[in-house]
């Protein structure tokens, strides 16, 4: 009854008209609904008067994080952040599984990936100059997330991107830089586990899960929470950076060497490392 998968049906005919109608209805509903909502940034709206004042007044005192966003994300709603980290981790695992299994299905050894250095001396030098700054900025974003925009998530993405830039420029032939897929996976797992570990530790010391205030780190509660938040952010950092590396490694693993790149002279046999 149902059509074979792979045949895209939404090309023509009734389903397409139905799709267009559904889209129009959704759009109409959204527009009609949005007219009723409070204006963007309205200080009298419920979003600004109900829960937010507590965060604005007490976040810095209670959690030790001057950046309210960090306080909410990592402390008040740390459980959500744990979930988001798990979402990213799930995406990394999914890519790894689906692409690795797809390669195994074709009964071929996984393609060697970006074998050629499509770089040139200019790219090489630029990468050498820029990468340390990118990596350092990533760490800065992680640590400075308490007082300014940023945090583990953005820092992790930046750190991963920095490593990816090197891989892009140097290919696999250059000296190994950054983690390989296995090490990246270990890093991602360790990050998620570290986040959960902080939560379990808080439980072990008599608090709720993720209740940083109970951790025996010395000092007053706000300070302890601040330190624990930093730990959590570092865990997110590791998980995200690891996942970014896993994603890039698995997705770029099948990139074929183009004709042009071969003619540009990559002499060494593919898959000489991995």
């Amino acid at each position: 009854m149902s059509p074979a998968p792979g045949k895209t049906r939404l090309r023509h005919g009734v389903p397409r008209i139905l799709g267009a109608l559904a889209f129009a209805a959704l759009l109409g509903g959204l527009v009609a609904g949005i007219r009723d909502l409070p204006r963007l940034g309205d200080p009298a709206s419920p979003a600004a008067t109900h829960v937010s004042p507590r965060f604005i007044e007490a976040a810095a005192r209670e959690t030790g994080a001057a950046n309210m966003v960090t306080a909410v994300l990592a402390d008040y709603r740390g459980y959500d952040t744990l979930g988001e980290t798990a979402v990213i981790f799930a995406a990394g695992l999914g890519c790894l599984i689906i692409l690795a299994l797809a390669a195994a299905d074709r009964r071929e050894t996984p393609p060697p990936g970006l074998t050629h250095r499509f770089g040139s001396p200019i790219l090489d030098v630029s990468a050498r100059v820029l990468t340390p700054w990118i990596l350092m900025f990533a760490l800065y974003v992680l640590i400075h997330g308490h007082v300014s925009p940023g945090g583990g998530f953005q820092g992790g993405v930046l750190f991963g991107s920095g490593l990816v830039v090197v891989r892009l420029v140097r290919g696999r032939r250059g000296p190994a830089f950054g983690p390989g897929p296995r090490a990246a996976l270990v890093l991602a797992c360790a990050g998620v586990l570290a986040f959960l570990g902080i939560g379990f530790l808080a439980m072990a010391f008599g608090g709720e899960f993720l209740d940083y205030g109970t951790l025996p780190l010395g000092g007053d509660e706000a300070h302890v929470r601040e330190l624990a938040t930093l730990g959590v952010e570092a865990a997110v950092f590791a998980a995200v950076a690891g996942t970014v590396c896993v994603l890039f490694a698995t997705i770029s693993a099948g990139v074929r060497e183009t004709e042009a790149a071969r003619s540009a002279g990559s002499a060494s046999p593919p898959g000489s490392d991995g």
């Binding site: 963007l40 940034g41 200080p43 950046n67 966003v69 960090t70 925009p149 940023g150 945090g151 998530f153 953005q154 993405v157 930046l158 991963g160 991107s161 990816v164 892009l168 970014v244 994603l247 890039f248 997705i251 770029s252 099948g254 990139v255 074929r256």
Partner: protein
């Protein structure tokens, strides 16, 4: 108090709308990836404009830089053109 987005905000929203629609109908996957990058940067600027600096930062990191790289890598694994 955050000032209302104004002309620049409306312009950014228009850019986002156009870029997203164009990416949807682009036949060339690399063009679609590039248009998605445009969308992300416009979105990041818009977030910054309405005061969500953290969100803007994240959007710039993820949408503008990382996902574009991943999209291009993924496009290399497939045929470049949709038919």
């Amino acid at each position: 108090m955050i000032p209302p987005p104004g002309v620049i905000g409306v312009g950014l929203l228009a850019v986002m709308l156009v870029a997203a629609t164009a990416a949807l109908f682009a036949r060339d996957l690399l063009v679609a990836a590039a248009l998605f990058g445009v969308f992300s940067f416009a979105a990041a600027t818009w977030f910054a404009l309405v005061g969500a600096v953290d969100v803007a930062f994240t959007e710039a990191c993820v949408g503008g830089a990382l996902s574009t790289i991943l999209f291009v890598s993924a496009a290399h694994r497939t045929r470049r053109w949709l038919d």
